[in-house]
Symmetry: C2
C-alpha cells in the first residue's frame, strides 16, 4: 500500500521557531474503513496562524500537540473511497495537515468540500477563494463595514489575505492602500493587485516616518484598517485614523515570537472613537458561502488573481513556513506535495 | 448690576496641570437682549474630560482657548428672562462653565434644559441623572450590551460614572465588580453602591498582582469592561477578559498628564476576540432621553444615590479639579457656587 509522509511538531519554539521544531516521518496507510475517504494532497497551505498553534498556553485555539501532524489546509484528489458521497477523482479541500495523504470520515460535517476546478484552479481554494479570502471578507464586511469613498488600509498587503482585502474593498468603491515590506512587494501590490498606493514599511523604520508616509498615501485619513502585523505599523496607522474608524484585528504576526509587542498610544481609541475588534474566521462559518461566492466571482472575472509562492515537496515546508513569518513570500505561500 | 466671577484658562499644562494654569476674574454682566436668559449657577460639575481640553493639539474636542472661561456643566436658577420659554425661578441645567452666572440664548437647541427638582435634587442632574450617568448608560447599553449573568467591571468605580454603571448593570442582572483606589473607596463601592465586589488597585501595584485580585473577584472571567483610567489597570483587566468580551473606552485619565501610556499586550484583542470601542457621550444625543428616564427612575427608587464631594465657592474649583484627577474625591465632584 501507499506510504504516507508527514511533518510533526517535535518541540516548541523557545522563543523563536526554527526548523528543528519539525520532524519528517513516514508511516504506512491503514486500509479504509466504511465511510472513509483517502485523499492525496496536491497542495498544502502555509498560514501565519500556525505559528500561534506551536506555542503552549492560552491562545485562541488549542495548542498543536507535540508529536502530532502539523495542522494545515490542503487541496487534493480522492484516490480511494468507502463513502457514497465521494468518488475517485473528486477534487476536495480540507484540513489534511502537513502530509501527503489524509484519511477522512466522509460524514464529519465540514471535513471535506468538493470544489469545481473548471473555472478556478485547485490551488486558489487555499488562497483567494479559501480561508484567507474569507478572512479578508469577514473583517472588511463585518467589522470595517466600509462605505464607498472611504480609505481602507491593510498590512501584509502582498500576502493572501491582503490581496483579497484589496479586491473586496475596491469592489466597494474604497480607496485601498497597502503596507508591505520592500519595493518589489509594493510594486506588486500597486501594479498587479490594483491597490491605489502601497507604503514600504522597510523604507520608513520608525513610527514618525511611517506615519508621514501613510499621510501622503491617505490624504483623507484612514477609515478602516485590516490588521495583520501589530507593532510599529499599527502605531503609525492609528495616528492617521479618522474619527469613528474601525480596525479589524486578524493577526499580530509580530507577537508570535517572544514577548508581547505594546500598543504605543491606546488613548487614540478614545480620542478618535475607534472600534478595534479581533476575530477568527473559523468562528463565523455561516458567512463562508456568501464570502466564497463573491471571491470566486472576483477570481473568475480576473479582478483577484494573486501570485503564489510554491515550495516543492513536503520536506521544504518548515523552511517555507519560517520564510512566511519573515515576509519572504509574495502572495499565497503553498507547498506542492 | 450683578458682577460675574469666572475662572479662565491662563496657561496650558506643561505637562502637569497645576493651579497656576487657572485665573479668577471678575466682570460686570451686560443687560440682557431679547431672547436671552440669565442663569445663576448653584453647582458646577468637575469632570475628567476637562483635563483633555486644557491641552493643545489633537483631541476629540476643540482645545479650551486661553483666556476664556473654562468649560463645564452647571445647574442653577433663572434670575432674569427675556425669553418666553423661561421664567424667573426655573431650575435649569446647561453648560454654563466655571462662573457664577451665564447668559444663554433661550433659542439655542440644547443650551438649557428645565428640570424637575421635586423628586430629584438639582445637584443630581450633574451626576447620576446627568452627563456622567448617561455616559455610563451609553457605554454599557450600546457597546458592552450585557446579558444577565455576565460579569461587568468598571474602573474609577467610586466616581460619578462608575456608580451609575454599577446600578445600571445590576438592573440588567449582571455581576458588577468595581476597581477603585484605597480601602475606603472600595468599602463605599461595595456597601453603599451595591457592587458585588471591589478591587483596590492601590493594594495591588503591578499588573500580575492586580490580575490575580481580579481573578478572585471575577471567578467567571470578565465579559464587559468600562474603561475610565488606562494603563496598568487596563492591562490587568485584559488578561481576565472572556472570549468575545467588550471594552467601552470612556476615559484614560492616566493619559492626560504627559506621555502616552502603552497597552501592554494588544494581541489579547485577537486572542480573546475582543471589541474595544471609544465613545463620547455628547455625540449620541438621541439616546439621552431614554438614558435619563432610566437614571431618574433608579435615583427615585433609591438604587442610585451616590455621594457627592462638594467644594465651597468658585475659587476652590481649580484645587478640587486637580484632586479629582488624583482620585481624591468620593462620588460626584461638585463646586457650590
Amino acid at each position: 500500500m501507499q506510504e504516507n509522509q508527514m511533518i510533526v511538531l517535535k518541540s516548541r519554539p523557545n522563543p523563536q521557531a526554527t526548523v528543528d521544531n519539525f520532524e519528517l516521518k513516514r508511516a504506512p496507510i491503514a486500509p479504509l474503513q466504511a465511510g472513509q475517504v483517502l485523499v492525496r494532497h496536491h497542495y498544502l497551505s502555509l498560514d501565519p496562524y500556525m505559528r500561534g498553534r506551536m506555542n503552549e498556553g492560552k491562545s485562541y485555539a488549542a495548542a498543536q500537540a507535540l508529536g502530532e501532524v502539523m495542522i494545515g489546509g490542503t487541496v487534493g484528489e480522492v484516490v480511494q473511497s468507502e463513502h457514497a458521497g465521494y468518488a475517485v477523482g473528486d477534487s476536495v479541500v480540507g484540513m489534511g495537515g502537513w502530509q501527503l495523504y489524509s484519511v477522512v470520515n466522509g460524514d464529519t460535517p465540514g471535513a471535506l468540500h468538493k470544489v469545481d476546478v473548471q473555472h478556478v484552479p485547485i490551488s486558489a481554494y487555499l488562497g483567494a477563494v479559501g480561508m484567507p479570502g474569507v478572512t479578508a471578507w469577514w473583517g472588511l464586511v463585518r467589522i470595517i463595514e466600509p462605505k464607498a469613498g472611504e480609505t481602507v488600509v491593510v498590512s501584509a498587503a502582498a500576502g493572501a489575505v491582503g490581496s483579497a482585502l484589496g479586491a473586496l474593498a475596491k469592489a466597494r468603491g474604497c480607496r485601498v492602500v497597502g503596507i508591505a515590506g520592500g519595493a518589489a512587494k509594493c510594486a506588486y501590490v500597486e501594479k498587479e493587485l490594483g491597490f491605489d498606493a502601497c507604503v514600504d514599511y522597510k523604507a520608513h523604520r520608525d513610527v514618525d516616518a511611517l506615519s508621514r508616509a501613510l499621510k501622503a498615501a491617505c490624504p483623507n485619513g484612514i477609515d478602516g484598517y485590516f490588521e495583520n502585523v501589530g507593532g510599529v505599523v499599527t502605531d503609525a496607522v492609528m495616528r492617521r485614523m479618522n474619527a469613528f474608524g474601525r480596525i479589524a484585528v486578524c493577526g499580530m504576526i509580530s507577537r508570535y515570537d517572544g514577548a508581547a509587542v505594546v500598543m504605543a498610544d491606546p488613548s487614540l481609541i478614545l480620542i478618535n472613537r475607534l472600534k478595534v475588534q479581533g476575530f477568527i474566521v473559523s468562528e463565523h462559518m455561516q458567512d463562508w458561502p456568501a464570502a466564497l461566492r463573491e471571491l470566486a466571482g472576483l477570481y473568475i472575472s480576473g479582478k483577484l488573481r494573486p501570485r503564489e509562492t510554491i515550495a516543492e515537496g513536503l520536506a521544504a515546508a518548515p523552511r517555507a513556513f519560517l520564510g512566511l513569518l519573515k515576509g519572504e513570500n509574495l502572495g499565497k505561500q503553498l507547498v506542492r506535495l
